[in-house]
C-alpha cells in the first residue's frame, strides 16, 4: 500500500509516484502487469483522481509504466530487463526515491545519513527482522 501523508509538504502526486516506484521496485507489480485504475487508486488512497493521473502521467514519461488505450496502465514490459533484478539494484531503486524525498525537506546529507543509520540500527535490532512488506 502506498503511504499518503496529506500534511507533508511533499506534493501528493510525488508521494504517489514514489510509492508506485517503490511497489514496482519491490515487485508488488510485475513487469507487464496492470496497475490499479486511476479511479480505484484515488478512491483507495482517498485523494483527488487528478493527482493520481498526474503521477501516472509522469511515470509514463519516465518509461516506468505504459498506457494502453482503453485498457489502463501497466508496468512497462522492459522494466524487468532493465538491470533491476538483483538486490543491489532493488535497493538502489528504493533509496533513490527515499533520498530524493529526503533532500526536499532541506536536510543536509549528514542529517539524512544520521536518520538513515538510526533507522537501520533500530529496525535490525527488532526481534524477527522486518522483511519487505
Amino acid at each position: 500500500m502506498i503511504p499518503i501523508d496529506p500534511t507533508s509538504f511533499i506534493p501528493l502526486y510525488e508521494q504517489v509516484k514514489s510509492g508506485l516506484r517503490r511497489e514496482i521496485a519491490l515487485g508488488s507489480y510485475k513487469p507487464g502487469s496492470p496497475l490499479p485504475s486511476i479511479r480505484d487508486l484515488a478512491a483507495a488512497l482517498l485523494i483527488n483522481p487528478n493527482t493520481v493521473a498526474r503521477a501516472y502521467g509522469e511515470l509514463e514519461r519516465d518509461g516506468l509504466i505504459t498506457t494502453r488505450k482503453g485498457r489502463g496502465c501497466f508496468v512497462s514490459e522492459d522494466f524487468g530487463t532493465l538491470p533491476g533484478k538483483d538486490t543491489v539494484k532493488r535497493l538502489d531503486g528504493i533509496f533513490e526515491t527515499a533520498v530524493r524525498e529526503a533532500r526536499k525537506t532541506g536536510a543536509e546529507p549528514s542529517e539524512i545519513r544520521k536518520v538513515f543509520e538510526d533507522r537501520l540500527r533500530s529496525v535490525f535490532a527488532e526481534p524477527g527482522k522486518r522483511r519487505t512488506s
Binding site: I4, P6, T7, S8, F9, P11, L12, I38, R39, A42, A43, L46, I47, N48, P49, N50, G106
Partner: protein, 300 residues
C-alpha cells in the same frame, strides 16, 4: 468559454451586515475547489446564492454562460447541492424522497441512483427521520449525484460526523469526480478532508477571498520560520507576506507566504543566532491567514 462557473463582484448584505463584500472567482470542470473560512464567514450564504435560494445584493453569476438569479431553476441543469443540515422531509420514506427529487432534475440518472443506493445497504422503505446523520448524508449524496451535476456544491456536509463516515463520503465524491469529471466546490472550516483532494484553494475572510491559489503553490510557498537573536528581537521583519508574528524574548516566529530564496537570504542577513524554516500543513496555513493577528494582509 471553458469556465463552468464565473462569479464577478459578488456581494451580500443582510441588513447592515455585509457578509460577502466582493467575491470574484471562476470554476473549471473536473477540479476540486476548497473554500475555507471560519464559521460565520459566509460559506453557506455563498452556497445558497449559487443555488438561487437567496438573492445576491450585487454581482454577476454565470453558470455555463447563463445567469444565476434568485429563484432561477438553473440548478436543474447541473448543480448538485449537499448542505450541512439536511433539509429532508422527515416523514418521507427514502424511496419517496428519491422519486420526489427525480422530478426536479431533467438529467436524473435512475440507474446510477439505484447502483449507488444499493451499495449503501439501507432500507428504501425507512422513514428519513429514523436515519442516522451519516445515513442522511449518504442519502443526500445519492440525491445530489443522481442529478448528474456538472458542479457539486458541498457546504460543510461532514461537519460533526465520525471519521469513517466522512471518509466513505469523500470516497463517493472521489469516484464521482473520476467517473464524471464533476467540478466540486467544497466549502468547509475543517481542513483534513480538503487537504487530500483540493486542487485550488480559496480562503474566505472578512467577506473577501484573501487567498486564491493552486494548492500545490500554497504548500510550496508557505513556511514557518523561527529566528533566534542574541539580544532583543526586532519588532518586525523586513519581509513581504508575514502573515503572523509571535514574539518572545530573543525569538521571533513568523508564518510567511509567499516564501522564496530571496526571503531566506534577507532573513539570514539579519544578526541572528539561529534560523529554522519548516513547511506548513493546511491547518497551519489556514490559521496563518485567518489567525488572531489584528491586521489582515490581503494576498492575491
Amino acid at each position: 468559454m471553458s469556465d463552468l462557473l464565473k462569479v464577478t463582484g459578488l456581494a451580500k448584505d443582510f441588513g447592515r451586515k455585509k457578509v460577502l463584500r466582493d467575491l470574484s472567482f471562476t470554476l473549471e470542470p473536473g477540479r476540486v475547489y476548497g473554500f475555507l473560512g471560519r464559521n460565520g464567514e459566509g460559506k453557506t450564504t455563498l452556497a445558497r446564492i449559487l443555488m438561487g435560494v437567496i438573492p445576491a445584493t450585487r454581482g454577476a453569476l454565470l453558470f455555463k454562460g447563463e445567469p444565476i438569479t434568485y429563484g432561477s431553476s438553473i440548478y436543474k441543469r447541473g448543480i448538485g447541492y449537499i448542505p450541512e443540515d439536511s433539509f429532508f422531509y422527515g416523514g418521507m420514506r427514502v424511496a419517496e424522497f428519491l422519486a420526489f427529487n427525480s422530478r426536479f432534475y431533467p438529467r436524473w440518472d435512475a440507474a446510477r441512483v439505484r447502483s449507488t443506493f444499493e451499495s449503501l445497504g439501507f432500507d428504501r422503505r425507512a422513514r428519513i427521520q429514523t436515519l442516522s446523520r451519516g445515513q442522511k448524508l449518504q442519502l443526500g449524496f445519492v440525491a445530489a449525484v443522481g442529478a448528474a451535476p456538472d458542479l457539486l456544491v458541498l457546504d460543510d456536509p461532514t461537519s460533526g460526523l465520525d471519521v469513517p463516515t466522512r471518509r466513505d463520503f469523500l470516497r463517493g465524491i472521489i469516484r464521482d469526480l473520476a467517473e464524471r469529471g464533476t467540478a466540486v466546490l467544497f466549502a468547509t472550516h475543517m481542513v483534513h478532508e480538503l487537504e487530500r483532494v483540493v486542487d485550488h484553494l480559496y480562503i474566505l475572510h472578512g467577506g473577501r477571498l484573501i487567498l486564491d491559489r493552486g494548492f500545490e503553490d500554497i504548500k510550496t510557498l508557505s513556511r514557518r520560520v523561527r529566528l533566534r537573536f542574541d539580544g532583543e528581537a526586532p519588532d518586525k521583519l523586513p519581509l513581504e507576506g508575514v502573515l503572523s508574528l509571535r514574539r518572545e524574548p530573543g525569538l521571533l516566529e513568523a508564518i510567511v507566504f509567499p516564501w522564496d530564496e530571496a526571503a531566506e537570504s534577507k532573513l539570514r542577513s539579519l544578526s541572528l543566532t539561529d534560523i529554522e524554516v519548516e513547511p506548513l500543513s493546511l491547518e497551519d496555513i489556514f490559521e496563518g491567514f485567518v489567525g488572531s493577528s489584528p491586521a489582515q494582509p490581503e494576498v492575491k
